[in-house]
Symmetry: C2
Subunit: 371 residues, 2 copies
């Protein structure tokens, strides 16, 4: 099997697990956060910088690479790892999320999705077989099955038929993926309906994927609803296999997800808000553009020892951000990713020490969340 | 004296000199190219990256820092070196070039220049005393006298009165600058008129500056005209002091300038064209966006061992540039600055070996210049 989760410790007081995810490009300590490199680059970062802040795995996007530069070109370059100079594990999404987001520009059939490129309007098709073909060409360690991320809210009928189609597509993905050095993860859907989620989890589990994602969450629903879905869905997934909560990356959701048995996360949040000038600190979020930081010669976060916090003041970073200087968003990006990767390391330590509930309480109080 | 040029070797066959410029923040091998960090950052680069590619001194802009974040704030931060985390020498320009470029937004008097900020339209004043006050607050190793960069073309009368005013301003700059750890360089003007250039060089030399710049060149005149001005101006400058040719950074002009006795250069060219996707290589310029590079798995320049060329293909960098990814312009910026800094190192070696004319010929043939 291309990808295997070694479980090192299971929390007695929560559903959290400490593990090591073995992949063809190395091992990832779990629970893990995956920085997003949409277009074969984690925005503003080099691979060396990603390693320096402790990233062990990144995510890249099938839809974007399919459109530009094209998966054949990436294959010619020797695969995505070589193309982008990243020798650690890569997970690729299936492109489903992006093509479904195109609204009027796409048409769904049992076969797949006909859509228009957001770059040049050309007519393209993506279905389970195509998504697998592209991901095999990219050569990611983990490929995701082609699914529909059910919108929120959705009627019971729509959520059901969409989920059932996603399951049929998952089967086709498994059949068409032939690389021995790549694992395909199935994606649980079903909207916010318990019986649909349970059916999806059971049906996909019977297909014996090497890993499972919970999709269709963090799509606009209240957080308590996401946690409820996790509460009843995760226990139905095979215990020995990795579980990935898609598109989730705010600190509170990472902690809550881990406590419900999630091993992997990804999100554009830390890098996107960084480019906007918002940074995460041990005391909550901070908008560096604000005038209060103009003469502040202290670091973004006194508790942080990332490159930005070791060497630059808030006053300087604010100046860079206001002057639209690239170094400004490089520093905020480094800081935010480091913050989340450090948080994951602290979460792993807390699981090791079986003190995750206390860690959660302390973190929430410090960060300013309602626990 | 804050800044001193130690001349190690003088070329017998040209006017080139090999030297070491001693400053309060360390020593610079000359002839030297200074990357430009307009807003207290060399665009897209960290100080560590600048050091890695061999930058020993950078230039920053008084006008921009005066407007944002303000020199008082930089002084509060402990000076420009500390503010921007760069512990090697810094040269600041005087702001004259920028305020004179404002056209209708400025009014010149003997006192100085009244102008409107390009950021918020506020009315501001910059004269010799203000330019010195700002540069003292910034704490650069080398401050430039406040001058008018005479436009090209200019009438003899305008060039003469402008040059004479620049000389009077130079005297006021010397008088008002009081920091012992900062050197002020005078700037020779006089347009393209030989007697005016000679008068300017003589008058400024009599003021005994620790260094001299030749300004008002590379402003639209044909290159042979610039070389002629250097031919008759440079020999009138004190032999033992550093000579700086302002705003010049194309490879041919660097070589021609060094052969005429110039020790220092600065230019936004390498970083600006990099952000546009144009790179300099041992075989001339290359526009990375061009379709011919789409499937080229070789480096930007096979002769280059910069970080970009060691680790990335033209195909990948082209993809990044076309996708507007920050890493794209980071890589082209690193490459172009490395190219020019390496060129300066090769020029220094050629002076050492007294083979600069042969180096020039070989370089021009390879790069595709008419020698």
């Amino acid at each position: 099997m291309a990808v295997m989760l070694e479980i090192i410790k299971e929390s007695k007081r929560t559903k959290a697990r400490l593990g090591r995810l073995h992949t063809p490009h190395g091992t990832v300590d779990t629970p893990a956060f995956m920085p997003v490199g949409t277009q074969a680059t984690v925005k503003a970062m080099t691979p060396e910088e990603l390693k320096e802040i402790g990233a062990q795995i990144i995510l890249s996007n099938t839809y974007h690479l399919f459109l530009r530069p094209g998966h054949e070109l990436v294959a010619e370059a020797g695969g995505l790892h070589k193309f982008m100079h990243w020798d650690r594990p890569i997970l690729t999404d299936s492109g489903g999320f992006q093509v479904f987001s195109l609204g009027d520009l796409r048409k769904i059939t049992e076969e797949g999705v006909q859509f228009r490129s957001h770059l040049d309007g050309s007519s393209l098709f993506l279905g389970p077989e195509q998504a697998m073909e592209i991901q095999m060409a990219l050569g990611s360690d983990i490929a995701m099955a082609f699914d529909e991320c059910t919108p929120y809210p959705s009627s019971y009928e729509y959520a059901k038929s969409s989920m059932e189609r996603t399951t049929r597509w998952a089967e086709r993905c498994l059949k068409s993926q032939t690389r021995q050095d790549q694992a395909v993860f199935g994606i649980v859907q079903g909207g916010m309906y318990r019986d649909l989620r349970e059916q999806s989890a059971r049906d996909l589990s019977s297909l014996n994927f090497p890993g499972y994602a919970v999709g269709g969450l963090s799509v606009g629903e209240p957080k308590h609803m996401m946690y409820e879905v996790l509460d009843y869905t995760v226990p139905l997934l095979p215990a020995g296999k990795p579980r990935y909560l898609m598109g989730v990356g705010s600190p509170d959701c990472l902690i809550e997800g881990v406590m419900r048995g999630i091993d992997m996360f990804d999100c554009v949040l830390p890098t996107r808000i960084a480019r906007n000038g918002t940074v995460m600190t041990s005391r909550g979020k901070l908008v560096i553009r604000n005038a209060e930081h103009a003469r502040d010669m202290g670091p973004l976060d006194p508790q942080c020892d990332c490159y930005a916090c070791r060497n630059y003041s808030r006053a300087y970073i604010r100046h860079l951000v206001k002057a639209d200087e690239i170094l400004g968003l490089r520093l905020t990006t480094i800081h935010n990713l480091y913050f989340l990767l450090q948080l994951m390391a602290e979460i792993r330590t807390a699981i090791e020490q079986d003190s995750l509930p206390e860690f959660r309480q302390e973190f929430f109080a410090r960060y300013g969340y309602e626990p």
